[in-house]
């Protein structure tokens, strides 16, 4: 068996892991406060819901489409979740179910309209973005829901025992694992990637396009719903502007993780590490007291770097293949 360096180097996540470890060590050496319990807690909280937002976009990238309404779905679910608890005093588990159903239905609509119309998901989700956001503002009249049950607030604040690990990160970690299993080990997940690679080839072997597209959008909506509710736990209130700032970060992490927007290539672990890298950079800039506006610049540079590195690796593989073919 040859599980060698080279096979590790081929993995998208391996390079990112090294970046995470190096940058973590580097920052910790300069500023030991980086590893303080409080800091780690803050880091993990921000990673928690960003992880789900990134996965919600990643599954749509996998089939070669885009979901612009990720944030709008998350926001609609967030205010519905907090709204039904405040206005109708509905119990927390039922409210969670309502939130999940809303997210799933929104995702289904995205997928169904995309399949039936044959229009690109970019445009369909641009339209639904406004519709979902409009419903959100219509319900809330731009006022937040403040009456959140204590159990929900506690869940948003609590740490596991005396460790710095927030409860908030448990669900995202489980979901990341499940998504890995889904993309790598289930037939539906593999068919999605095959579809993303080549719609024509996938259809020729009898993979149903409509099933693949609708399923991906349903999962995306479901994940956006979870992210929306986690943010409510975190903020301790349901404000209508939850989700407004999700769109670009939702693309950043998968792209840093080597995803190709044309579809067919995503990596769950690499996407998770992408989220972690973005979080570490944001955190480091705070610790070094750098103007927060720079976070955006760093993020931009990071994305460019990631894309260049991926391009370079593909180029390397191609050229090594050519040499291989010649002999």
């Amino acid at each position: 068996m040859k599980i060698t360096q080279s096979s590790l180097l081929k993995k998208d996540w391996f390079g990112l892991l090294i970046v995470v470890l190096l940058s973590g060590t580097f920052i910790a050496m300069l500023k030991p406060a980086f590893l303080s319990a409080f800091n780690l807690y803050v880091l993990m909280v921000s990673v928690s819901y960003m992880l789900i937002i990134a996965l919600s976009q990643m599954i749509i990238i996998a089939i070669g489409q885009m979901n612009l309404s990720v944030g709008a779905i998350g926001g609609l679910v967030a205010i519905s979740f907090s709204g039904v608890m405040e206005v109708y005093q509905i119990s927390v588990p039922v409210a969670i179910c309502i939130g999940l159903v809303i997210g799933t239905v929104c995702g289904f609509l995205n997928g169904y309209i995309t399949v039936k119309s044959g229009i690109s998901a970019f445009i369909i989700t641009l339209a639904t973005l406004y519709i979902f956001k409009g419903i959100n503002l219509g319900i809330t009249e731009a006022e937040p829901f403040y009456e959140i049950p204590e159990t929900v607030k506690n869940f948003g604040n609590a740490k596991i025992g005396t460790s710095p690990i927030p409860y908030l990160i448990i669900i995202p970690v489980i979901i990341t694992f499940l998504m890995w299993v889904f993309m790598n080990r289930t037939e539906t997940g593999r068919h999605m990637l095959a579809y993303g690679n080549s719609v024509q080839s996938a259809e020729l072997i009898g993979i149903s396009s409509s099933k693949v597209v609708v399923t991906a959008h349903v999962i995306s909506g479901f994940l956006a719903a979870i992210a929306g509710m986690l943010v409510v736990c975190r903020l301790q209130l349901g404000t209508p502007n939850i989700g407004d700032s999700w769109l670009l970060p939702s693309f950043a992490a998968p792209v840093i993780g080597g995803a190709i927007l044309a579809g067919g290539k995503v990596d769950v672990i690499a996407t998770a590490l992408g989220v972690l890298i973005v979080a570490i950079i944001s955190q480091a800039l705070v610790i070094f007291k750098i103007d927060p506006f720079f976070v955006q610049i760093f993020l931009g540079v990071m994305i460019l770097l990631a894309v260049f590195v991926n391009r370079y690796r593909e180029y390397k593989q191609e050229s090594s293949k050519k040499i291989f073919n010649n002999d």
Binding site: A194, N197, S201, N325
Partner: protein
């Protein structure tokens, strides 16, 4: 009684303006290799698309194992045991070989998860049949083209296909790889009981492995399920090209004394052209003939600066030049290129007639600040649109609403307006009805009479013989020979075929 696993009985298929198939028939014997031959445009691809459920026939029957079937989708074809191995590879490049083979029926563990060990185990069997000694976990994109092709056949076998359609399977293989493929094809026909429909332009391959031959010509059968034993090379070539077609005679006489306007000397290109040398005289039409993949369009693209010329000389009116972009080809050297792919490269479909026709002249007529007014454009372009009799309700009609022939006229008008000296015309009449075709032929001759030098790329032999003064035959990115065209169809076509099938 002989068993036929596939029978095509008097199948018709019409597309707007073209009758692609006219009572085409053939019978595929079980366990045989059947060649399907014909020139470009003879209806082979249409027939293949009908057999694979992509198109539905207008009339006629399709029988599988003596039972009439209706194929509505490619899926139906797969279900009835028909698989195509396309020229373009239909594998998922980022997946492993094993997963590709098993993709529409992935084996699962008791937990319902994809079982990669089982995939490796099952796919190994099919790979062994194809003598492929590769690890099923190898990623497809790491394979050579030849191996990808073998994997695709293995995939078809794994689908339990009894009928394989191979569409020019050797077009991107080396001779050794082709020989290897043929050995394997013979083996699977013998051992697995499959039957093969083999589409190829290479006659030597047909004689090498096929049992029976069907030739299509203009959508009709030139011969039907003829045993290869009754045919020889010469008969086959005659069956493929020997059609009665009126040759438009040009009154124009070129005596070869005109001045040379373009000359290529030992040109080698980035795309793999080797030692291309020819001359183009003023007001001459030279034809580039060859099979698909001979490198003709590619040569045109090198000439207009889209691709790189590595060595050799390009001489225009006596001076050696380098053409670095289509813009300088047009503006400095007055070379225009009318693409074979009207829809993708030639025209901007969502723009109107006048915008498309004038796109080449904008930089010539723009005023000081770079503004171009509609009046300036129409005064420049309208004469050409009228001269070519473009049938359009107005010059502001969207191009996509015009017929193919009229779209092509706009393509031509665009370059006429730009005042080119050398016009490269690539497959001008593909998908165009006979009447407009004749008109375009007249137009090309008139252009030449007006002093434009033309390089005509066409796979349509009668078109070539009626228009060109000299015919350059290309094969595998090389110039195989030059045929002086005396417009006598029989001798000239035979000469051309000599160069192609040498």
């Amino acid at each position: 009684m002989t068993k036929f696993c596939l029978e095509i009985d008097s199948v018709d298929k019409a597309f707007p303006g073209v009758k692609a198939l006219n009572k085409a028939s053939f019978k595929l014997k079980k366990g045989s290799i059947h060649a399907l031959l014909g020139e470009n445009g003879a209806g082979k691809s249409t027939l293949i698309k009908i057999i694979t459920g992509i198109h539905k026939q207008d009339g006629g029957k399709l029988l599988i194992d003596n039972v009439e079937k209706t194929l509505n989708t490619p899926n139906d074809a797969t279900r009835f045991g028909i698989s195509v191995v396309h020229q373009e590879r239909n594998l998922i490049r980022r997946f492993s070989v094993g997963e590709n083979l098993m993709l529409n029926n992935l084996p699962r563990t008791t937990l319902g998860l994809v079982d990669y060990q089982e995939i490796a185990l099952q796919s190994k069997k099919w790979l062994e049949i194809m003598d492929l000694d590769i690890d099923p976990s190898t990623i497809v994109s790491e394979l050579t083209v030849a191996k990808m092709q073998l994997c695709e056949i293995a995939k078809a076998l794994s689908l339990r296909s009894q009928i394989l359609l191979l569409d020019e399977p050797t077009s991107s293989l080396s001779p050794q790889e082709s020989d290897n493929l043929f050995l394997l094809l013979k083996k699977i026909v013998r051992d697995e009981g499959v039957s093969i429909v083999f589409v190829s332009h290479k006659l030597e391959e047909v004689f090498n492995i096929c049992d029976e031959v069907t030739v299509l010509r203009d959508g009709k059968n030139a011969c039907t399920s003829e045993s290869i034993k009754n045919l020889d090379r010469k008969k086959l070539v005659k069956l493929m090209i020997g059609r009665d077609e009126q040759i438009v005679k040009s009154k124009r006489k070129t005596d070869g004394t005109d001045k040379t306007i373009l000359e290529l000397k030992n040109v080698n290109t980035d795309l793999g052209h080797k030692n291309i040398s020819f001359e183009l005289k003023k007001a001459e039409i030279i034809g580039l003939y060859g099979l698909v993949g001979a490198g003709r369009t590619e040569l045109a693209k090198c000439l207009i600066g889209l691709e790189k010329i590595n060595s050799g000389e390009v001489i225009i009116s006596g001076t050696a030049i380098t053409i670095d972009s289509p813009r300088s080809a047009l503006e400095k050297y007055k070379i225009g290129y009318i693409s074979e792919d009207r829809k993708k490269e030639g025209l901007i479909l969502i723009h109107n007639v006048i915008d498309n026709a004038s796109i080449t002249v904008w930089s010539q007529i723009k005023k000081i600040l770079g503004f171009v007014t509609n009046d300036m454009i129409s005064s420049r372009v309208n004469p050409y649109i009228e001269q070519l009799e473009v049938k359009t309700p107005s010059i502001y009609q969207l191009i996509s609403n015009l017929s193919g022939g009229n779209q092509q006229k706009v393509s031509v008008a665009k370059w006429l307006a730009a005042g080119t000296d050398i016009l490269i015309i690539d497959e001008p009449t593909v998908g165009i009805d006979i009447k407009t075709k004749a008109y375009l032929h007249k137009l090309i001759i008139e252009l030449a009479e007006g002093g434009t030098s033309i390089i005509l790329i066409s796979s349509d032999m009668p078109e070539m013989i009626s228009l060109a003064d000299r015919i350059l035959v290309m094969k595998d990115f090389k110039l195989n020979g030059i045929v002086k065209n005396d417009h006598k169809y029989d001798t000239v076509s035979a000469n051309i075929m000599e160069y192609i099938h040498d």
